[in-house]
């Protein structure tokens, strides 16, 4: 359960400032006369987890392919730490680590040999650093086995390892939770938090699942049909000051609603409209009234509703 205090804790250090790490300047991609990305203009400030949310086929992977130079940009430009990916590729891509769609590995090599391939393509990545990363992703016991014997989840982990080996300033992950079990998703989320907090890494993560984005992102951009629809802060001061539906998991929701004089009961939870301060006050009153509070969760229904509405609901798989 993701409590308010959890959320506040996570937003520490996520205050964004400074020159943008990524700058999309009117980025357009056309393939065979079809416009796949249409005039995308967006700045991504450093030190945050930035979500790129859109239904399947909305152009997330295409955008990421352009960010890392796998696809040419038809019009406009993408700058990473100030360098143009189309005109100054080597410099622009140097601070980037990425997984584009599924991480594909050399199945006939060990996990370690795969990492060595990418380590050799960068200056000064020590053996110690490789060991550290292997340890971190929890593949230590299997790293000498051939990758063809790995499960999808293990490949995902190895994919993360190759992306963070060189301590990238910008980490790009394309639907990274595909193929991960809930435990793996949780670990990934915690890890991304850690990266932004400790190393100041900016994380650009795409997903078609709003619920996932809400849990891990500071800011979310929503695209549909190749067009940017909305950019929204989820955590931090701005988000904390806004009123949301807050769900209280309490001993007796009906009694609690009666005592408070506000709120409604839904799915066995007490639902109240409140901002951050009000939530804390309500919690205090409930405890005072002798009603046990087991959990407090902000429900961002408004965003979810908006997302479903904007993206036509049914297309979200």
């Amino acid at each position: 359960m993701d409590t308010i205090s959890d959320r506040l804790d996570k937003s520490v250090g996520a205050e964004t400032s400074g020159a943008p790490v990524v700058r999309f300047e009117n980025v357009t991609k056309r393939i065979g006369g079809k416009t796949i990305i249409d005039g995308l203009t967006l700045d991504i400030a450093p030190g945050q987890v930035f979500g790129f949310l859109g239904p399947n086929g909305s152009g997330k992977t295409t955008t990421i392919r352009m960010m890392v130079g796998l696809m040419a940009i038809s019009e406009g430009d993408i700058r990473i730490c100030g360098s143009s990916i189309s005109r100054d590729f080597e410099r622009a891509v140097a601070p980037v680590g990425a997984i584009v769609e599924n991480p594909e590995m050399y199945g006939y090599m060990s996990g370690y040999a795969n990492l060595m391939q990418y380590a050799r393509m960068r200056p000064d990545i020590s053996k110690a650093r490789i060991d550290e990363v292997v340890d971190f992703i929890g593949l230590k016991g299997r790293i000498r086995d051939k990758v063809r014997t790995y499960s999808l989840g293990m490949r995902q982990r190895l994919g993360v390892a190759q992306a963070i080996l060189h301590r990238p300033k910008l980490l790009i992950l394309d639907e990274p939770t595909n193929g991960l079990d809930p435990q793996g998703i949780r670990e990934l989320r915690d890890y991304l938090r850690e990266l932004t907090r400790r190393e100041g890494t900016t994380v650009f993560v795409s997903s078609h699942l709003l619920s996932e984005m809400e849990l891990m992102c500071d800011t979310v951009a929503i695209i549909q049909g190749g067009k940017l629809i909305d950019v929204r802060k989820l955590n931090g001061a701005e988000a904390a000051a806004s009123v949301h539906e807050v769900a209280f998991d309490v001993g007796d929701p009906a009694l609690a609603a009666e005592k408070l004089g506000v709120g409604a009961v839904r799915d066995g939870l007490l639902i109240v409209q409140a901002d951050r301060e009000q939530s804390a006050a309500i919690n205090a009153r409930l405890v005072e009234a002798g009603i046990p509070v087991y959990g407090i969760r902000t429900i961002k229904r408004s965003l979810e509703d908006q997302f479903l509405e904007m993206t036509g609901g049914g297309t979200i798989v």
Partner: protein, 261 residues
């Protein structure tokens, strides 16, 4: 520069880590010993080691096909496996990555030539040596026979480089290793038919075809070549042009195309 050598090292690892590469070497080992052995069993041990080597040079097409299969897989294999997108997001331009691959392919070609003809020399000496006319001085002196064999091998190596470059270009252009290898092999063995249809001695265009120029050994007996209209220098020039064109096309297509693997 040493950073670039690491890129080539990466490509070498991809080649030599695989079992099929060692199967190729095993086949070459068997051939390098088997052919002189057969010659000896067939009672031909009196032909001498250099004649034995002459027979081995006829197997050089194997070396070309093996190296072409490595070349064909070099780029296309990355696409079929999807690893190309992992490879191309490093701080190296596509051109540099492509040339690292090409360097590894050429090194492999040199390796199979050195392996096959090195072993061939040894086995020919052991199995066929001692009986031939020239053999008494074979390993130390430079006789015309010996010179001819090494020139023969060098000429074949040059043709192999062109075919392997073709396979590499096709691999980068079509991103299918089967297609790249199949087309290269067709080119290797189709030459005779094409040069009959477009006979260089009758049609001027024929002499500029790749096929009329790949067999440099045609000049061993006759400076005007098989068709009487070319020369060693002319053929080398034509091969050089094809070689450069293959590389330019390969680099251009590899740089240009979107990677959506």
């Amino acid at each position: 520069m040493s950073d670039y050598l690491k890129l080539i090292h990466n490509e070498n690892i991809k080649i030599y880590i695989r079992a099929r590469t060692w199967i190729m070497f095993a086949i070459l080992l068997i051939a390098a010993f088997g052919v002189p052995m057969l010659a000896r069993l067939g009672g031909a041990d009196k032909i001498g080691m250099w004649a034995g080597m002459g027979v081995l040079t006829l197997l050089s097409f194997l070396l070309t096909v093996f190296a072409a299969s490595i070349a064909a897989d070099s780029v296309a294999g990355e696409f079929s496996r999807g690893t190309v997108k992992m490879l191309l997001i490093r701080p190296w331009s596509r051109t540099k990555i492509l040339f690292a691959k090409y360097a590894a392919v050429l090194l492999f070609l040199l390796a199979v030539y050195a392996f096959f003809f090195g072993l061939g020399t040894l086995s020919s000496f052991l199995l066929l040596g001692g009986g031939g006319e020239a053999d008494g001085i074979a390993l130390t002196a430079s006789s015309a026979d010996i010179q001819e064999i090494w020139t023969n091998i060098l000429y074949r190596l040059i043709a192999s480089v062109v075919y392997v470059t073709l396979a590499f270009m096709l691999s980068a252009a079509f991103r299918s290793n089967m297609l790249a290898l199949a087309l290269t092999v067709v080119f290797m063995f189709m030459g005779g038919i094409v040069t009959q249809l477009v006979d260089p001695s009758k049609y001027a265009i024929g002499r500029y075809l790749l096929f009329a120029n790949t067999d440099l050994n045609q000049y061993a007996g006759n400076p005007q070549g098989d068709y009487g209209v070319t020369s060693l220098g002319f053929s080398l020039g034509v091969l050089a042009v094809y070689f450069v064109v293959f590389l330019i096309v390969g680099v251009y297509v590899f740089r240009k195309r979107d990677v959506a693997a």
